[in-house]
């Protein structure tokens, strides 16, 4: 007898979910944010359909304020694995005067992330979208199903979720409705890192520490990723050895000071850390139920 490890069981479950969706949906897509969870998702998708390539495109919602390293990693990955990439963005952001410095976080995430995502899903007629959400991230996520239904206007109704029993997923939906599917629902942040280490998955270098130009604001260390970063009067970028636990728009994502330059160092830091990974994200702050409200609106 051979006993499966927890990572083997999680992997088998995620692969099963990927295949169910491809078998039952007409036009699936994978939300690809290029972060560590997306990298694990892509790896699982490649395993699920091997030797065929993943039979769906990748959709990246780019805010226009993405880290340069992240975009470079995205383009390299797409090339290397022969993936189809769709980039969704709000092309009118500049004309609308929306930017991460002046716009409030609610409006910013709505205009730059949620709306372009919804527009892209509708425009391409995707009826199923894989997302990298994990139930350990946030309380509202803990109760979301693996197959999560969205009305034609992409709304989530937390009171009207389908029960999910055994490994049976009901993917039936009316015309116009779509499903968001979370194949790594049952993974934790630690599982993700262990799996990345074990499977030697290539991730964005921003997760590893190196000297970067930074400023400190509202208790967050921000990296001055390009010359669009608006410095306050008297502010001078300082070189610090920093890395990221989670990646969003660079002017809104806090870095942590660190000396972790290798995978094991990162895991060690994470295990000994005292703050949750979402602590570095300006978008999640505010009332504790706010993620639930955003999800009802269509945020991933």
């Amino acid at each position: 007898m051979r006993s499966l490890t927890h990572l083997e069981r999680l992997e088998a479950e995620s692969i099963h979910i990927f295949r169910e969706v491809v078998a039952e949906a007409e036009n699936p897509v994978m939300l690809y944010s290029v972060g560590k969870d997306s990298s694990v998702m892509l790896h699982l998708a490649r395993k699920a359909f091997y030797p065929a390539p993943p039979p769906f495109p990748m959709l990246h919602v780019a805010s226009g304020w993405d880290f340069a390293d992240l975009l470079a990693h995205r383009d390299r990955t797409v090339r290397e694995y022969g993936l189809r990439l769709i980039v969704a963005e709000n092309e009118e952001a500049e004309a609308q005067g929306i930017n991460p410095f002046d716009t409030g976080s609610a409006l910013y995430s709505q205009a730059q992330l949620t709306d372009p995502l919804k527009r892209a899903l509708t425009a391409h007629g995707f009826d199923a979208a894989f997302g990298g959400g994990r139930r350990d991230e946030e309380k509202a996520r803990a109760k979301e199903r693996i197959f999560s239904f969205r009305s034609a206007s992409h709304r989530w109704d937390p009171k009207n979720q389908r029960p999910e029993l055994w490994n049976l997923y009901n993917a039936r939906k009316a015309k116009g409705e779509s499903i968001r599917v979370f194949p790594i629902s049952n993974w934790t942040e630690l599982d993700i890192w262990q799996y990345i280490a074990l499977e030697k998955i290539d991730i964005v270098p921003l997760y590893f520490s190196k000297p970067r130009p930074t400023v400190e604001r509202d208790g967050m260390i921000l990296v001055v990723d390009d010359d669009r970063f608006r410095l306050e009067p008297g502010e001078q970028p300082v070189t610090r050895s920093v890395r990221f636990r989670t990646l969003g728009c660079y002017p809104l994502t806090g870095a942590t000071e660190s000396t972790a330059t290798e995978m094991n160092d990162i895991i060690q830091e994470m295990l000994l850390a005292t703050g949750s990974e979402r602590q570095g994200r300006a978008i999640d702050k505010g009332q504790s139920a706010s993620m639930e409200d955003k999800k009802a609106e269509g945020y991933f």
Partner: protein, 636 residues
């Protein structure tokens, strides 16, 4: 943080991360469910497990402290329950109302906890959480002992096939850690458990609030020899050996065909072990072959076991697609279209016996009908009650019939191949979860009788294409009149027809049926079967039935070949039909003498996309008949 009771060795993480990771890569996974009544302290226990396993970070702890002051029920102390009560609305009510999944890890295992509510009306949530659990922790408030809810939860745990049960006698601090109290509860529960078939359980006296016997044995209960809760959860054997020792079965999820040289069958192994060279049989077709390779991204495997997701290639070109099952050639599972199952109803709209639902089992999706339940099970008294249907959260036993044979195992043999869900064909809601008890017939004995004269021969001889012209509409809309007229005109065109009329069929074939919803469904099902046989005989069949429900009309459509079912909506407004009142029925219905009358106190669901719609206000019956015939030409 809580260093005494936390079960993580931070020293090892700090000193030798490689050793730590190596150890953690070989951890196993245990999924368990916690069940208890409203105030048994379930959320507090889970919060405690998360806290002690250091799964709570400082920012979360800060939020918890401020939440505890706002909504907490523990005075100045941290209310662990707030950690796990997720959605905003329920947090305000102070009640958990859904299934939530939590995660924590120790040196030996990763745990996934399904947290489900103790409310009476939420059987559905508990069944959902239990379906994936290896173990159940049943909480009892030491002050209250075994309650009705305890019995209900234990029954559901047993019904869902969970073999490992922990009886956590909680709030021991509130009974002064009294051994006699614990022993009395143990004896009481033991007698009940044995009566429902739970032969083995582990009882542990705990306090989730104070932390007694959670991570280590408590000095407050010197009379208790162990194990502590975590120790037990870490060491309990999961049933991997049993699953791997069973005969091989893998439902095919997806056929992987990237190029002409590769044809792989992807799926997750439900039971057994497989190696290249093993003989396999495809169920239900019965074709055999041998495994050529077990292909994965990480290379070909020499062996794969239950639980793994793999892709198999076979030595022969056999027909095999999604919904088929690859099984050990010498020991395949049964396949049948009739079986008996225990099921839990999960939808607001009650079961409609005889109606077609989608049934999903493994990767098979078929149409299934459920007979009226043999009985309903009262989850409190466990008595068998007579029942005509099942409503939300009710549990019953009934016979199921599917439109084609499916491969399965009894649920107690294999959860993956014995568990099924029913899906409403119109709302797409998951309406029931079922557990197959036994096969109602040996499908090996059931073969379609091959006939020498085919249905094409029958139709060819009559020089026509068989059709079922299905007239639907309110009582008094003119269905029978128009159908009669259509038949007359077809007769003049030398066509072989037969008219099945609602009233006439009810005098003979269906005289045992009344007008309840269930009887109406059965009425239409029988008419559909008769119409199908007549169509097989080559006839053009006309039927005139109110047939008020879309689902039944669609059921008949599904019985027939593509294009043979012509739905004709006799679209007469209620006011017009009621004004005509040819048989005086509307008057009786309005005065209450006639119950369940369509359009008055029973609904009529108009067709959404009928092949033909006729308007009887502007057309005479003759014109309507001509209009219909024009639309079904050519007849051959």
């Amino acid at each position: 943080m809580n260093d005494q009771s936390s079960f993580r060795t931070d020293a090892l993480i700090a000193e030798d991360i490689e050793a730590y990771l190596d150890q953690h890569q070989h951890k196993s996974l245990l999924r368990f469910i916690t069940c208890g009544s409203v105030d048994d302290g379930k959320s507090t226990l889970i919060g405690r497990l998360l806290y002690d396993s250091r799964m709570i970070f400082e920012d979360q702890l800060a939020a918890l402290e401020s939440d505890s002051a706002k909504h907490g029920t523990q005075g100045q102390e941290i209310d662990f329950a707030l950690l796990v009560d997720g959605l905003a609305a329920e947090r305000e009510q102070g009640i958990t109302i859904d299934v939530a999944y939590r995660f924590f890890t120790t040196e030996k295992r990763k745990f996934i906890v399904a947290d489900t509510p103790g409310h009476e009306q939420y059987t559905r949530n508990m069944v959902t959480g239990a379906s994936t659990a290896d173990l159940a922790v049943i909480l009892i408030d030491a002050r209250k002992g075994v309650l009705q809810q305890t019995r209900r939860h234990s029954y559901l745990v047993h019904l869902l096939g969970i073999r490992h049960v922990v009886l956590a006698v909680n709030k021991m601090d509130l009974v002064g850690y009294d051994q006699a109290t614990f022993d009395a509860i143990l004896a009481d529960y033991g007698a009940f458990a044995a009566s429902i078939g739970i032969t083995d359980f582990t009882a542990i006296p705990i306090s989730g609030f104070k932390g007694d016997n959670i991570t280590s044995l408590s000095a407050n209960t010197p009379w208790y020899q162990g194990p502590a809760l975590i120790e037990h959860l870490e060491n309990v054997e999961v049933d991997a050996a049993a699953a791997q020792g069973a005969p091989f079965r893998m439902p095919v999820q997806w056929v992987n065909r990237p190029n002409l040289d590769f044809r792989g069958f992807a799926g997750q192994i439900a039971s057994g072990t497989i190696r290249p060279g093993d003989a396999v049989r495809i169920v239900p077709s019965g074709k055999t072959s041998t495994v050529k390779t077990i292909s994965t991204f990480d290379g070909d495997l020499s062996e794969a076991v239950a639980g793994q997701s793999v892709t198999l290639t076979l030595a022969d070109e056999v027909d095999c697609s999604r919904g088929d099952l690859i099984a050990a050639a010498g020991d395949p599972p049964q396949a049948s279209d009739q079986f008996c199952a225990t099921f839990v109803w999960m939808d607001e709209e009650a079961l409609k016996p005889g109606r077609g639902y989608w049934l999903k089992l493994g990767t098979q999706t078929v149409t299934a009908t459920v007979q009226a339940p043999k009985y309903e099970i009262d989850v409190n008294s466990l008595e068998h009650l007579a029942a005509k249907t099942l409503g939300l959260n009710a549990i019953g036993v009934a016979e199921f019939a599917t439109d084609r044979p499916i491969a399965f195992e009894p649920y107690e043999t294999n959860r993956q191949l014995g568990g099924l869900i029913l899906i409403d064909k119109f709302t797409n809601a998951t309406v029931a979860a079922g557990m197959i008890a036994f096969n109602l017939r040996r499908a090996d004995n059931v073969h379609w009788q091959p006939t020498a004269i085919t249905r094409d021969d029958h139709a060819g001889m009559k020089n026509q294409r068989p059709r079922v012209l299905w007239f639907t509409g309110l009582s008094g809309s003119g269905k029978s009149t128009i159908a009669n007229e259509v038949e007359k005109q077809l007769f003049l065109m030398n066509r072989h027809t037969f008219l099945l009329d609602g009233d006439n069929v009810r005098h003979g074939l269906n005289r045992d049926l009344g007008f309840t919803e269930a009887d109406r469904i059965e009425n239409i099902r029988r008419v559909g079967e008769v119409a199908k046989l007549m169509a097989d005989a080559g006839l053009i069949v006309l039927t005139a039935f109110i047939s008020p429900f879309r689902a039944e009309r669609e059921m008949v459509r599904a019985m027939l070949a593509q294009g043979e079912f012509i739905e004709i909506f006799v679209d007469t407004p209620l006011e017009v039909a009621e004004a005509r009142d040819v048989k005086g029925l509307y008057k009786k219905a309005r005065s209450g003498q006639l119950k369940n009358f369509t359009g008055i106190d029973s609904p009529y669901e108009p067709p959404e996309h009928p092949e033909i719609r006729v308007n009887t206000v502007d057309m005479t019956p003759e014109e309507a008949a001509r209009y219909i015939i024009d639309r079904i030409l050519p007849l051959k």
